[in-house]
């Protein structure tokens, strides 16, 4: 008998819940929009992770500018880089999405598989590099020309080094045997994307202050707070004055800030996010991507039924890259210099990988390939050096500059 009462009670509770919740769901469906365009977004993380957060903000900004309603975008968070990505992409296509975007490199091959299967849906694998080779008209890659903002962040660092040298603030161990000022770089992996980034940064410094040498240490991880901090400390103990990074955490800037507070002369240049919060005195600036520029263009094209570019890579010309606001420790006149450099890049007068500014094995580079066609990871097609500079992100959106130039030492 008691059990029967319990059962009836339980059923009553469920029913009463249904009754009290019933009123406010109706409003959700009424917000229909004129356009029947729908898009899906596959994200490797969620808003708690800096890289994904930047993409979410970029898409939201683009959506607001294009007048997309909330229910026209289906968000899929924390999708791992495995078959779940394909399942999700196919599911989004089933739900009637006209455009599906994924934000991580590892999603690429699964997106490509979905693109083969759903020719009427456009798939964009951000930061990917196989769209051109796949030959699929509905499969696209995009990346910003972040090497441009890397270069500019290098200019900021160069101004600081020049100021420190002029003021005589550097110690003997801040110089190497040849009298070059030591710079350190915390890299993620020894891949083209990272190489292109640190080379651009290095050339940026050299454009202001020529006598520098740089040591690069890889952490073999995109995000590792502790390891990046430790690596920064190692580089600092070797006498590096500037620590830059290609890694997503705040580990390195925090370590530099701590060393600065202890009295060392050292400053930090970050990536992706403003580091002033964790390193108010040490952080000079960070090179960043402005994803909304691309998303406006790509989503807008897809909405109008136009083709989305297969390979998209834009920099300062379209304001798709930037550096974060300068920290208080920056040298005097940095802002003016930065504006001048950005203007020169925009005008096409300054090229980041100008072959006059660097050498490989003591020689000027006359030829370098951009694309790998036979799968051995060594570029063998598309001559990238012409008109006096290496054409980065020219044949495909993903970075491909993989030369080891003089002045940069790889520690591991």
């Amino acid at each position: 008998m008691k059990k029967l009462i319990a059962l009836i009670l339980a059923i009553l509770m469920v029913a009463s819940l249904a009754a009290c919740g019933g009123t406010d769901t109706a409003t959700k469906d009424e917000a229909g929009t004129s356009s029947d365009f729908k898009m899906g977004v596959i994200l490797v993380g969620d808003e708690n992770e800096g890289y994904t957060y930047a993409h979410i903000e970029g898409i939201k900004e683009a959506a607001a500018a294009l007048g997309l309603a909330d229910d026209q975008i289906i968000w899929k968070y924390t999708i791992p880089e495995d078959e779940t990505c394909y399942d999700t992409a196919a599911d989004l296509a089933d739900q009637g999405c006209d455009l599906v975007i994924s934000n991580s490199y590892g999603h690429q091959s699964h997106m490509q598989q979905a693109a083969t299967e759903f020719p009427e849906v456009t798939f964009i694998a951000m930061t990917g590099d196989t769209a051109k080779a796949s030959g699929l008209p509905n499969f696209c890659n995009a990346f910003t020309a972040v090497y441009e903002s890397r270069f500019v962040s290098g200019v900021v660092a160069g101004m600081k080094i020049k100021e420190l040298v002029d003021a005589g603030k550097l110690e003997d161990d801040n110089f190497d045997a040849d009298g070059n000022v030591k710079v350190g770089y915390v890299g993620a992996y020894p891949y083209a994307e990272v190489k292109s980034g640190y080379t651009a940064f290095f050339l940026g410094i050299k454009s202001v202050y020529d006598k520098v040498s740089m040591s690069v240490q890889f952490t073999n991880s995109w995000f590792d707070l502790t390891k990046e901090g430790e690596t920064a400390n190692q580089l600092l103990s070797q006498g590096c004055v500037i620590i830059c990074q290609h890694a997503d955490s705040t580990g390195a800037p925090s370590a530099v800030q701590a060393a600065l507070e202890k009295g060392d002369v050292c400053y930090s240049v970050g990536y992706n996010i403003d580091m002033l919060e964790v390193a108010p005195d040490a952080a000079l600036t960070s090179a960043t991507n402005v994803w909304s520029v691309y998303y406006k263009e790509a989503i807008g094209a897809a909405m109008n039924g136009e083709a989305v570019p297969t390979n998209w890579a834009e920099g300062y010309a379209k304001e798709a890259v930037a550096i974060t606001p300068l920290g208080e420790s920056c040298a005097e006149g940095t802002q003016e210099k930065v504006d001048e450099v950005i203007a020169a890049i925009k005008a096409g007068e300054l090229h980041v990988f100008d072959i006059e500014t660097f050498t490989v094995g003591g020689k000027k580079v006359e030829s370098a390939f951009a694309t790998d066609t036979d799968g051995d990871f060594v570029p063998d097609a598309d001559e990238a050096v012409f008109d006096g500079y290496f054409h980065e992100s020219y044949f495909q959106s993903a970075p491909c500059f993989a030369l080891d130039i003089d002045g940069i030492t790889l520690l591991n």
């Binding site: 059990k3 819940l17 919740g21 495995d82 078959e83 196919a90 590892g106 091959s109 590099d129």
Partner: protein
Amino acid sequence: MANVAVHKREPLVRIAKRDSMPLWQSILIRVLSIVLALVVCGVIIYMLIKVNPLEVYKSMVEGAFGAFKEDYKFFNRRTWITIRDTMMLLCIAVGLAPAFKMRFWNIGAEGQILVGGIATAACMIYLKNLPPVLLFICMIGASLLAGALWSLLPAIFKAKWNTNETLFTLMMNYVAIQLTSFFVALWENPFGSNTVGIINPTGKEGWFPPVFGLDYLMNVIVVMTITVGMFIYLKYSKQGYEISVVGDSENTARYAGINVKKVIIRTMLISGAICGLSGFVAVSGASHTISVNTAGGKGFTAIIVAWLAKFNTFTMILISLLLVFLDKGAIEIASKYDLNDYVASMITGIILFFILGSEFFVNYRMIFRSKEKEVQ
């Protein structure tokens, strides 16, 4: 008058072990626990997002079995993915069943899946020019062998020196993860991605072939065969009987003339081999790639499945389905109501808590302090 018996105060509730319970009663308790769990979740959902919980539950069902539209077909993509993942979980749980029944705590399924997956991926990469039948025989053989070898080590140590198999199998997982990282780096494609990417995307060599045009029917066939086979093995074979005797009491087993060491090693080989085979199902039948996330915690989830099902492989089907359903539903509501994933995990957690709790009421009864005593 002076000799009045002193009444000891009886506690409000006493707990006593149940002797047995009619089947309908135990089913009722379990169903009620799920209903209660849904009610509790409903209250929490309403408090958090002010959405009708029934709508949320509907989304969960849609997440697992497809959106209810006018032209709704039950066997749509989402249903098939739910089936595929259920089969994967089931396969691991079936692999764990004999070991756990023998009271050998094999928590090394993660590692056994990974080495099975590595073996499969290796065949797909290096032997892709073999005729399909031969290639499949190689993949099945390699994954069985890899899983079996991975469990052989802890089994021998347990049988010979009575080492703690829980720690041993657990640590083997970490070795397997490192091994997987090594092979991922070796087979990295494209360079710089730190992933293997989809293996043989064009020729689909070594991919489960569609059966009757259905991509994942093959997974069902493979796993169901193993499930039925394991049921018969555990219930009707002599070896299955030996397993349960060793599980109940090693001394009894020894007294009955069972070679305990042999049974331990043999059972662990079977357990590891089937877990290795689930690595084959995962790589060849679902992901077509290998990464450290290929096992993705399923080896641990399968332990819950095996235990809840009391090692009955058919009950495992239901439990696996329930867990996969909860997972898919959680993903859908996170996306639909723009919730963080953690809310979805909370719901799954609450439901699991109630299901596990219901086992208590199935096995024990609560005796309340009641008037009946006076009648006695």
